[in-house]
Structures are given as C-alpha cells and as structure tokens.
Symmetry: D2
Amino acid sequence: MVKIAQLGAGRMGSIHAVNAAANPRLDLAFIVDPNAPAAEALAAQVGARVSSLEAILADSEVAGVVIASPTAVHLEEALACLAEGKTVFCEKPLDLDPGRLQAAEASLTAPGARLFVAFNRRFDPHFRRLWERLRAGEIGALETLHIISHDPSPPPPAFIPTSGGLFKDFTIHDFDTALWLMSEEVSEVFVFAACLVEPAIGEAGDVDTAKVLLRSPTGRLAVISNTRRSGYGYDQRIEAFGERGRLAVNNPRVSAVELWDQSGALLAPIEPGFASRYAMAYRAEMDHFADLIEGRCAPQTGYVETLAALTLAEAAALSANTGAPVRL
Amino acid sequence: MVKIAQLGAGRMGSIHAVNAAANPRLDLAFIVDPNAPAAEALAAQVGARVSSLEAILADSEVAGVVIASPTAVHLEEALACLAEGKTVFCEKPLDLDPGRLQAAEASLTAPGARLFVAFNRRFDPHFRRLWERLRAGEIGALETLHIISHDPSPPPPAFIPTSGGLFKDFTIHDFDTALWLMSEEVSEVFVFAACLVEPAIGEAGDVDTAKVLLRSPTGRLAVISNTRRSGYGYDQRIEAFGERGRLAVNNPRVSAVELWDQSGALLAPIEPGFASRYAMAYRAEMDHFADLIEGRCAPQTGYVETLAALTLAEAAALSANTGAPVRL
Amino acid sequence: MVKIAQLGAGRMGSIHAVNAAANPRLDLAFIVDPNAPAAEALAAQVGARVSSLEAILADSEVAGVVIASPTAVHLEEALACLAEGKTVFCEKPLDLDPGRLQAAEASLTAPGARLFVAFNRRFDPHFRRLWERLRAGEIGALETLHIISHDPSPPPPAFIPTSGGLFKDFTIHDFDTALWLMSEEVSEVFVFAACLVEPAIGEAGDVDTAKVLLRSPTGRLAVISNTRRSGYGYDQRIEAFGERGRLAVNNPRVSAVELWDQSGALLAPIEPGFASRYAMAYRAEMDHFADLIEGRCAPQTGYVETLAALTLAEAAALSANTGAPVRL
Amino acid sequence: MVKIAQLGAGRMGSIHAVNAAANPRLDLAFIVDPNAPAAEALAAQVGARVSSLEAILADSEVAGVVIASPTAVHLEEALACLAEGKTVFCEKPLDLDPGRLQAAEASLTAPGARLFVAFNRRFDPHFRRLWERLRAGEIGALETLHIISHDPSPPPPAFIPTSGGLFKDFTIHDFDTALWLMSEEVSEVFVFAACLVEPAIGEAGDVDTAKVLLRSPTGRLAVISNTRRSGYGYDQRIEAFGERGRLAVNNPRVSAVELWDQSGALLAPIEPGFASRYAMAYRAEMDHFADLIEGRCAPQTGYVETLAALTLAEAAALSANTGAPVRL
C-alpha cells in the first residue's frame, strides 16, 4: 500500500476519500481542508488524520495526492504537488482558464510529471464498453454521435458565478466524451442555448439548456444535449451511429423491479444523480490512480485532454454568445 | 372470390364477418342468426344478406361456412355443412364433450371433409415466429415451456355454467399451444387451481386461477398459468427454454409512447383483451380459410388437435378435482 | 360511399389505392397514370377502372381525388381538381418551390377549397398519442425536442436530382413534426450536414447526413437527426423534454419474439421501411380524407403547413451551404 | 469495530471474507481452514491471520464467526460457536437433515443464541424492494407467484452426491423466497422433475430440471422453475400477481450497452453467475451480521426459516420420487 493524501473534504472529496480508503492498494493517511470540522469528520470516517498542504508536500512518504478542493486552487495545488514529485489525481476541472493552463504547460507535462485529471465518463464501465466495441468495429466506421447529459435539478444559484458557466462546468464532460469516442479533433462548434429552467441562472449570465453541434475534420458530427433540470433523474445516454448500425448506452435504473397495472408498466427511475450513476467510475478512477502511482501506466486523461475539452467549452460559449459557428 | 356464409352474429361473429368481408378472396354473402336484429345489423355492416341455415345448406354456390354460433350447436352445424360438401371454419370449441366428438369422428375426418377449428394462438404472427425459430433450432432441443395466459377481467357469472369450465373454455388455447410448440403428446397432467378472483365463479363450481403442469413422454415439462383477472390487461406470454437459450414472446403494448418522470418510466399498457391482441391472428385465420376453400392446403387444426386439447382439458379438470396427477 | 379517383400508380399510389379500396366510406372508381400497364395493374388489384385526368375532372360524381403522381405535377393537378370543386388528397410535397406555392395561394386557400397535403407523421397513432399527452400537460411546458429520422438505406442515385435534396425530400417530415409538436413557429435554423454514406449523393450535389437545430421565438430548441442509411432499419423516434419529464416514442419492432443466449438478449429488428412503419398512418390519412369529403372537418395539413415546412427546408439548405445560421 | 473470525476459505469463504474485511464495522481477524495454503492465501488477501477453531472459541474478543466451511460441519461448528456466546453467520444450508436440526433446536433457539443463516435472496436489493412494495399493497392481495431460478451451467458431477440433491442445494433458495413473499406457510407441494441437462446428474440419482407447485392454506399458488443449465446466464426472476396488477423483478444485465443492427437489438447478457448477481446481497448479509453483533436487530433468517425451507425441499424430493402431491 502506498501512502496518499487528499486535499478537500467537500462533496467530491467525500466520494474520493471513501474510495481511496477502500482501495486495497492505497493508504489514505491525510485529509487537508481549511474547514477544520469538515476535515476532521472526513478523516474520522475514513481512518485518516488531518494535516496541512505544507506537511504533505514535505512528507516524502506521501506518494500521491488527490485534489478535491475548490476549483480555484486546483492548478496551484497540482503544480505544488507535481513539483515535489507526487502523483496527482485532480478532480476536474484542472482550471477554468485555458491561458493559465497553457502558461503552466511546461510543468504539467514535464517528463516524470504524473498528472491525472479525472473525467469520470471515461471510467464508467458502460461508456468504456461502448468505446471498446466501437473500436472493435462492431458498427463499422463511426459517423455521428448523440450525447444526452441532463442534470436532475439545477445547482444552487450561488454556485453559478463560480462554475465557469454551463459549458465549462457541465458540458465539459460531454466534450471530453465526444473527443474520446470520435478519436478525432473537433473543427467546428455551434450552439443554441437558452435559459428555460431557472431564471436565477439567466440573471447570473449563464444558460441552463443547450444543444451543441460538433464537426470533425473528416465530417463526423456530434450532438450534445444539456439541461440543468430533467424532471426525471440524471439522464446520461450515448448513441453512436456507424456504417452498419448503432451502439448505445441507456440509463441504468435504480432497481430491476417493475409494476404492471391498469396504467401500464412502470419501470424504476433512472439514477437520481452523479454520485450513484458514476459510483463505479469513481472507484475505477481511484484504481487508475493506484496504477499510476505504481508506474503501471500513463494517465488516461491529463493536460492535453483537459485543454482540448476546455477549448471546446470556450468555443461553445463564444458560439452561444455570438450566434455564429466557431471554427477551431 | 368464393361465396361464403356465416352462422352467428355475436361477439366472435362480428370479428369474423368483418375479416371475411375485407378478405379479397372471400365473398361473405349471408349471415344467419336466430336473433334477427343482430343478424340484420351485422349483415348491413358487412354488405351481406340475412339467410337461414337451410337455405345455405341448399345453396350450392356457398363454398364455405364460418360457424360462430353458440358452442352448443357447433358440432351439429359443422356436421350439416360438411355433409353438403362445404368447407367449415368453426370457432373453438367444436364441442365440449370428447365423447360426442369421437362419436362423430368418421364424419369429421372423412376424406374430403374440410374442417378447420380455429385456435387463434397458432395464427398469431408472434407465436408463429417463435414456433418457426424453435423448429429452426435457435435454442437447440426444447426442454421446458412456460405459457402465461391471464385474462384482464372475469366473464359475467352467467357465462360460467355454459363455458365448460376454466380448462375447456380458456386453458384449452394453452393446451393447444403447448402441444403445438412441444411437437409431442402429453403423458401426464397436474393442476393446482383455486377460486381467488370472483366468488360467483366458485359458487358456479368453477375455478378462476390455475397453475398447470404437463409432462411429455420424453420428459419435456410445461407450465401454464391462468387467471380470470390480471388487473393489468390481457397477458399472453410464452417462454421456451432449450439447450442453448431461451426464446420468448412478450406482450405487445398498445402504444410506443413512454413517459419518464419522478416515478420512473411508464410504458404503455399491454393489449386490453383478445379482440385487439389477436386481431392479426383472426385475419390470418380467415386467410387460412380462403386457402382451404381454394384447396391450397389442409387445415392446420381440425378434429385431431381439437380432441387432443379437449382431452388435456378434461385431464386438468380431473386433476384439479382429485388433487392427483392424471396419466394419459 | 363517395366516388373518388386516384392519380398515380407508383409506389405511394399502390399504398393509397389499397387503403382507399378498403375504406368503407370511399369508392375508389378510377386510376389514372400515363404508364398504362401500371394503371391497369393497380386498377385490377383494387377493383377500379383506368381513366384520364380530363374524364375525372369532368365527372361530377367524383367527389375526391388522391394525387400520388410524380412531384413535378402535384401542384398543377391539385389546382385543376380544386377548380372543379373536388376534395384533394395530395401526397407530399405539394411542390418543391415555395415561390410557386405562394403564387397559387389564392386558389389553394380559397373558401371552399378542400386541400389535404398528407404529412404521414401526424397520422401515426404513436406520434399522435405523444402529441395528445404533451398537450394534456403530462410533462408541463415543452422545452426541447429530439427527432431521429434515419432511413434504412439510400435511395437510388438517379432519384437524388429530382428529390429536391435531403431537406425538402426527407427532413420536410421532421420540420412538420417539429412545428406540430412545438405549437410554435421556428425563428432560426442551423445545420451541420455531410455526405458520409453514399458518394454518388455528394456527386449529385446533395448531402446524406444532417443534424439540424431549430429555435422558436420563446426559446424552445429542437434537434433533428437524419441519415440516408442507418444499417439497422427505419429509425423514427421522438423525445420531448418538458418541465416535469420526458415523453418519447420508441420504434415498434417487427415481432415480440426475443432470443436470449450467450451473446445477450436479441430483440427483433425495428421496422424495415416507411411502408410498414407508417401503414397505420396511411390508413388514417385515408380516413381523414373521407372525413373531409363528408365535410366533417377541415384538413389537418394543407397550404399553410406545407409552406411552413418547405420554408424550413429552404432555410436548412441555405444554412448547410453558407455554414451560418438562418433567421426567419 | 468488532473482532470476528471466519471458518472456511473456499469459494463462498472468499466472498464473505472480502466483504467482512471491507465492512467498516467488522474486523476480520482470523481465517480457519484445514487446507492450510487456502487459509493462508485468503488471510493474506484480507489482512487476517490463520487460526484454529479451538483458538477462536477460546478467544473472548472474537464476537462473531462466519461459517463458510463445507456443509457437513456447519451445524457442529455453529453449535460450538453459539455455546461460547458468539454471534454466528452460517452460510446456507445449516444442515441437510431436518431431523438433526430439530434435535439441536433447543441450542439453536436458546435465549441469547444469535444465529443468522444466510439466504441471499432476502438481501438482494431488487427482491427486497419487490417484497416491500408487495407489503405496501401496490398490487393488492398477493394471489400467485412465479420464481424462475436457472443456473447457467451444471455443477461438476462430483459435487452432486454431497449436494443434498437439487431441491436441498438449489431450490432451497426459492422455497425460502416463496415463504418470505407469500408471508404464509405452504400446505402442499407437487413436482415434475427430470434429468434433461447432464446425464451424470441422473446417474448420481439427482435431477437437473424441475417445475415445482406450492399451495398455501389460503389458496395462494406458487410456481418455481429450476434448471441446472440455462444457456443464457444466471436467470433469477420473480413475478408476483395480485388483485390489481403484477410486480416483477427482471434480470439486471452486465452492461447498459446495446447494439442495433440488421439482426435486431442485442442487449447485454444477464449476469453470468451467483457471485456477480448477488454481490450486493452478500455485502448486505455482512451488514446484517454487523447489526446482529451490535444487538441492533434479530436475525432475519435463522433456525425457523431454515427448517421451513428444508421441509419444503424434502417434500419436493418426495413428490418427485412418488409422483404424488405431498401435504404438509
């Protein structure tokens, strides 16, 4: 077991800490959070101790650091950890500003810098199986792609100003998924967006509903559908259309129980949110982190993938604002 | 087009007359029913004239007769029509008494006697496709069979005493289906039955719920599940289990619309009753009747199949009454 | 029964003539087609006689005319029939040129002119049920709409130059569906299109794959996905997203049989093409035509709906060509 | 955390030990198995030490014992552990002989004896949800029950003679499920069984295929379907039929990926075996064990449930042998 530490004891921090503690290859020794009660509660829950960033950086036994702190400090913390030779698991986004990322490129991509930016869709076993079967040629060449990513209910309005906006906060996952499945760059982006769900989101200058079109250099097309409120759970679907057919991932349901009565057949709801829908993905991320620390592989998603997705998010925001397509 | 007549203008008579009138090979010329208003209404609906059994028997232009009158006169009418050389389409059951059937065997099976007893399940395109795929060996040798046949709601109590009881009235279809799909005789029958749905059915000496086990000489096993009231529509399913897998027919739904909301995913109900569920089967029966009149084929189900299903119905009733298995 | 005639004995003509002949309220008396053998064969099949446009126009007993001739003569024939006071059922499109339609507006919309332009999606019972449930408020206010309309295989290349292009020939249905379901105009259109399926289509100056975005004045968004070749059948789905959930129409399957084996659960294919998928819609169209002739209702889709859909098709083609959104 | 030990390091032992080690309330300190390499390997895997039954019995810090040893020693080990006041988690069956169980009844049910016999179906979240919804009255009064329990492939022939036969080894789960869901005793059992799958099973005097009927005192009926080889995975379904509808549990699938091509829509296979299908149930069992040790509840399944299921298994075997129903 290798000793690791975690920065951040919030919502994502809880998920990652529990998974790290349960991972047989990792010893989650330290939790860091400026919110002392949160840090202590999480540390107690997972059998770790509260510590500080400085102490962790100085502790040569700490081989890896999970960064689950607020977005604003992700990049700075990642750079500090990488500078001490620690393997970094950084919750997405690494940063909201592509310019700042590019300014740090040398450090983030230096030989020996092991930086994993966690895009959970790639670690979901259903999506990964679709990706494998696509690559195995089950439907011939991929032509077009539909990604539906609908949140169950809008975030608190106070979150919006710090979120980076719909495209950097939420669609960013779908941009990464599209790039991953298309195995190709995106050359053009167009967006129709609106505020249909929550007026406070519009008042904060953001949108809550979007349909995004992507085009690749070879002519592949992708559609991304987003909403901040579905009314029926956390809808996460992919349809890939190819020469010889269609590969799709449907939503897992919370239960295999169904009720048939006069009104029809009522299947159980889909998963209510990301924590349950991507529970397996988060565990797989932690396993990938253990692999990275042990030197078994390179990060599946790091600086390059982060910058690519962020670039699409900026292009999407620009298209939504200007009403025109954006060529990359 | 060949001229045909129909005896009976009740519920099944309406279905058959409309299908006969729409069949491009059949000219439904006459409707016969002692209930004059019913006969006239149906004749008007399908462009036929009201007539009498005697006139029809005497009319050499009438090549075929559809018998959809009350069960009690089926056999007698069928014999009269066959005696005049007419092709007969007899709604099931041909008779409720196997002894009377056997007494008429010579006439019913005489060379040149064309008697089709309509068992609708064999003409349903879904069940027929299952039968074809079973015979094509898609799951290897058939081992066991589950038939679910649940009525949406119980018949009027007044019908029970004339029905022949659950096994002759309702399960008879499932016995025929089992014999058809197993391609083998049945050597043993056992039944658990109960009156759980409608006390008036019990008071009339009948049961409304049954689980029937069948065993074939080679050891194949079948289960039939019946109820007179499902609470969720007309449930008609088959599962066939073989060496290499499972072939099944699920219930078609009344619509392809589905609603997803907080409570789950609500699919449309299954078909509400036999008239809609077996609409295609009834049309296919009429086509088969046209084939028979034109001499293109032999009846798919006639005396032999009727007697076999009826024998199982009697065995089932005996098992339910005695509590013991019945060997055949 | 009212006497009607049909112009055109081709592929769509066959479908409509059979339905007209089977409709109890219509007497399909005449078939007209310059291709004499085709006219005679169809007339024989449906019990009609071959005639000429002139004779039909002059025959005051002919109350209605079904126009299923080549697109190029639709408008001219419709005008001639309307001028004689006949009720017109015109297979879509009425014309490929909005200018020509507008030039004929006075005649097409004159008081007493009964012109039904057959957009089949509105008569499909599944889509209609979705529309009804949407209007009944089952998911609250409609926000966005996804329409998937994928052809099983591309048309013969020779058809492309006369087709009007993908948007006027194929997407036209989806534009009408979107307008119908959104109950609102479209204010902006954007398209990504490509030729990914059949190079001959590209050589003829057309596209075979498209993703279309629509925006309404109130901010509703719609996505239409088209391809000329799915590899898995005729994919016709709708998803409507609203405040409180999702209403969707899935593809009916050709059979309710399923096979479970080592490779998984194989459900039957979806419908192979429009003739089977929309068989019920075509019958419902003919029923609507009978209603029109009998004066029971106004046409559900006529000049206004035709022009609206055609305008979107032109806007889509313009967007595809210019790469810019088109405002209406 | 409370200290526990486990007897048995075989197939089920591996599952339970991993779950015990991952349970935050349990400290799995000792593994006992006469097969020393197996004991050591498992102990190493879960961070425990190898010990002996004697040492464990003598160690007052060991509050609970998981018994996952061969069936033949279950009862004896359970009695020894209970005698020392330890809470016992015994993998099913507690014993194959109802007489021996009854002889030990006083010890097994003594005040203070905490004996949990692990019937995994009751701990599956899907089945439990069905049970809850049944009790909540969603379909009114329960009338009949269908349980399908089909193994993917037969056990090694060498296992058969020690298994107790199909009914005690495999159907025992379904008997317990039926008793649990019906909330009622069973008054009569009838079985059709056969050896259709694996001749070696028949040569060992056992059957591999069975259809079992159960009847309760109030007339409720249940059907259990078993086979030792499905050809399509581990089929574990329940259908409950009531006054107002049907509640069912379908098989979860190994993935949410589906492929649509010319042959249809291929859904992913169902779970391949009990270890993956009941993974959540085994974890829930361990949680229940922790609850028991902490005194938070009584065992959900103990001596009474074990004896009831075993009695049905013996009745089923008797019915299969005699060909007659068995009344209880």
